[in-house]
Symmetry: C2
Subunit: 115 residues, 2 copies
DNA sequence: CGCAATAGATTGCCAGTCGATATATAGATT
DNA sequence: AATCTATATATCGACTGGCAATCTATTGCG
């Protein structure tokens, strides 16, 4: 996690992964890349972070996976379950409540934004 | 931390505390209350969370403290140092970059917001 | 007098991130 | 043929941080 304070990211990593999966199945490495692209290199999930998250989501039945060995390269494809899609909706709404909450706490500070 | 996913909050607790201190010195218990008010009860920092944060900020010279024993109740007042004010500016800017980043990752999901 | 609220602080548990490491294949370079 | 880089998945251990529980102590109310 390069570009931003890692502490800040912590709580939303699941959300990011679910979000990346919302427009179709992907395998781990691809999720990593997509996230890097979509965030302008700000989010660079390490393997040691990503795979535990995927396993956790799978255990919670929010995603399901299957191996693809038809191509030379072994890949494990992950896709959102119905519950996962529903959960994603909740998480997005929660995220927005969080942002609104912080905005209220920051008050006038939220306006001016010096580097 | 009642109203919202605690995991989500994790990274921004320091920022919240710094922010609450930006409009004047406060003692711990007061910070707790102000934060609860300012967030419409969504953020309720427990003592076991707040005091370690304050001590950490003090160690980092972002806040300074002094005891007030002139009133019956012993209170430890915390105030932002110059470095703390500067740091607050950085943290706010960083927060905004984070929010923008997430918005980009969420893409179309960020628009519709079902509960 | 007892109880709730105020006020500060510490300890120990648990969960989560990430660097390091392991394994293995594909394609490019030497 | 050998080496290197990128691809691809996975686990382990160290470290950090939040929070419930706990402790001490005071103020004010019924």
């Amino acid at each position: 996690m390069n570009g931003l304070n890692p502490e800040l990211m912590r709580g939303s990593l699941d959300l990011m992964v679910l979000s990346v999966l919302s427009d179709g199945s992907k395998y781990g490495y691809l999720i990593q890349q997509r996230l890097r692209e979509a965030s302008d290199e700000l989010v660079d999930l390490k393997a040691g972070t990503l795979y535990p998250i995927l396993h956790k989501l799978e255990k919670a039945k929010l995603v399901r996976s299957r191996w693809d060995e038809t191509t030379g390269r072994k890949r494990k494809w992950y896709e959102l379950t119905a519950a996962g899609k529903k959960q994603l909706g909740h998480r997005v709404a929660e995220w927005q409540r969080y942002v609104a909450c912080l905005k209220q706490i920051l008050g006038p500070l939220a306006d001016a934004a010096p580097a």
